[in-house]
Amino acid sequence: MNIVEQLKPLFHPRTIAVVGASGNFMKWGCIIPKNILNGGFQGKLFLVNKKEKEIFGSPVYPDLKSVPDDIDLALIVTPASVVKNVMQECGEKKVKAAIVITAGFSETKEGATLEREVAAMAGKYGIRFVGPNTMGIFSASESLCAMMPPVPPKKGNVSFVAQSGNLGTQLLSLGLNRGVGFAKFVSSGNEADLRCEDYIEYFGRDDDTKVVLAYIEGLDDGRKFLEVSRRLTKRKPFIIFKGGRTKAGGKAARSHCGALAGERKIYEGAFKQAGIVQAVAGDEMLDLAKAFSHLPLPRGKRVGILTWGGGWGVVSADACEEAGLEVVALPDSLIKEIDEILPSYWSRGNPIDLVGTLDREAHRKCLELLVTCDEVDCVLALGMLAGPSTFMNLLRAAPGITPDALNSFVDQIHQSNRQIRELVLALIEKTHKPVIGVNILPEDDADNDAMARQLVMFPTPERAVHVLAKLCEYAEYLRDSERSDV
């Protein structure tokens, strides 16, 4: 059985049994089944506990044997000392996969032996399991929210494996605000059986997954990990956030090489080699996930910048140069065309400065010209994709404005917002070039419509440029690998 078949009962279970279910709100045995039910799990959930007869109106079975159905996935929340026995029961019940939430295993020396025994028992029956010491999993297609946090993540096409449960689940909920949706998530725990490279390989072959994320602290088999990653990055973007102290190479190194070989430098080099996009913060990982899952890759590094205000243009151009992107010189023909649209004191170059014009049609025309220009591979649109909701608030407060006039004005604003957003999406579709926006005001998304959420926008030019640079870097890696494969 390949990894896709092996993990099918984990991420696409029809039936789940929670072993160690509880009616006590403070216990995982209660929190997890409640979250599964609240999350709208499509399959059947069975509660198992020797000591309970009923929990919140649902029947509780004394053991797995007595559950009147086949069980695809077992969620184990019993104390560590009995997990091995539970795993045996799983084997006898022909359970296919398990998630061992319970902690207290190889985090301690005594626990390590226990963990090996659990793994051996699972191995005997061919059960693949997550953990132990995991915070659970999420699977969008089954609406399966088998995790600690009470709020299900947004659904989408990003799959994420985290070696830290709390960092992982926190990013899932941060993703809610950022418009980053997840297909699958797993907190890999102690990795006594399934390791991060197994999940990564699985995500690579999962049709629901378009972008892969990982939070990694340590790798047992770095070479295998790189092998799996290399295969993955040929087809899907892979973003990693590496945590863990920078181990100094010092020791008693006799060579310069030994002294300089810090863990961080080696991981950085290895990731670059495998085409992995490296983020240095959780936030950044989400920014990148949003961009990589929504935008086409640029065919080169030539950036066209369209800005409502001059200062942002300057800052963006600086950031682009520092990031190794080219703020390309505009062809004369394009300059002439824009001369017809903007006041004569526009910047007449790249960045295209809209010089604060409020003529939304001019914005749209310039945007279209820039995105469709052959010398431009990617575009930054600063300050014109989101409507100025602040102006609207000011107007509402102004004396002498009739409600009708105000409403009609507000409608106009919403209308032109929609138009420009439609245009961006249409241009991206037509040209296959990425367009990244920067909002005028950080929370300025007065419309908050579905279209706005499809756009990739950031509150600052620096963040937008950083993300664009990573898109370019990955695109270049793909081109380089294709060339050298020949």
Partner: protein
């Protein structure tokens, strides 16, 4: 605790040379006569270095004499080095001196716990650890990996040729890095390798000094 053994500079360079890595032309002289003969083979100028697996950081200990253009200066240098070493001297290395064009690189190999043999490249010379302009890639290296490794440093800007200097042969340099990686993959007895500095003779890279640590 791992048992390690460090090869002498001479043995280290021989090892690299047998694997196709270009090293500086040199002869190990055990006495003054051998030193004189060596000079007739190598020509001037030469560098003299104390050679022994026990000696690291020779510069600080004044066990390197450079800019030797005459037989007399070679003889004096030879005797000085012998005097300054307390014993355990394998011999004195007589090396063809390569003109210093201010571009010194370092290349090496380490065994990482997670990734196994990894190749390092960057800015070399005595300030290597102070400047820290080095990058790593996991062996075995493809040509593209080696190219990227070189270009992932600051020193590559000097190698491309600035301020009137000629560019160096970067593919030759890449080849050294690939070979170091292969050496690490093939010979599991090798624990660490340093080649520092790598200098350039008519644009071609040459390993002027090398350190090899054996151990498992």
């Amino acid at each position: 605790m791992m048992q390690t053994k460090t090869l002498s500079e001479f043995e280290a360079k021989k090892l690299l040379s047998t694997h196709g890595i270009p090293v500086v032309q040199e002869i190990l002289a055990k006495n003054l006569n051998e030193a004189k003969t060596a000079v007739t083979v190598l020509g001037f100028p030469v560098v003299l270095k104390a050679c022994s697996p026990e000696i690291l950081h020779k510069t600080e200990k004044k066990l390197v004499e450079v800019n030797l253009y005459t037989l007399d200066s070679v003889c004096m240098a030879f005797e000085n080095i012998q005097k300054r070493v307390d014993g355990g001297l394998e011999g004195v290395l007589i090396q063809r001196q390569i003109a210093d064009d201010m571009r010194e690189c370092i290349a090496g190999l380490v065994r990482d716990e997670a990734f196994g043999p990894c190749v390092m490249f960057g800015s070399g010379g005595i300030y290597t650890e102070a400047v820290r302009d080095v990058t790593f890639r996991v062996a075995p290296l493809t040509k593209l990996d080696a190219f990227n490794l070189i270009h992932d440093t600051q020193i590559v800007n000097l190698l491309k040729g600035v301020r009137g200097q000629n560019p160096v042969n970067i593919p030759s340099l890449a080849d050294i890095l690939i070979k170091l990686g292969n050496l690490g993959m093939e010979d599991t007895n090798i624990f660490e390798i340093d080649t520092n500095p790598i200098m350039f003779l008519d644009g071609e890279p040459v390993c002027v000094d090398a350190l090899v640590v054996l151990g498992r």
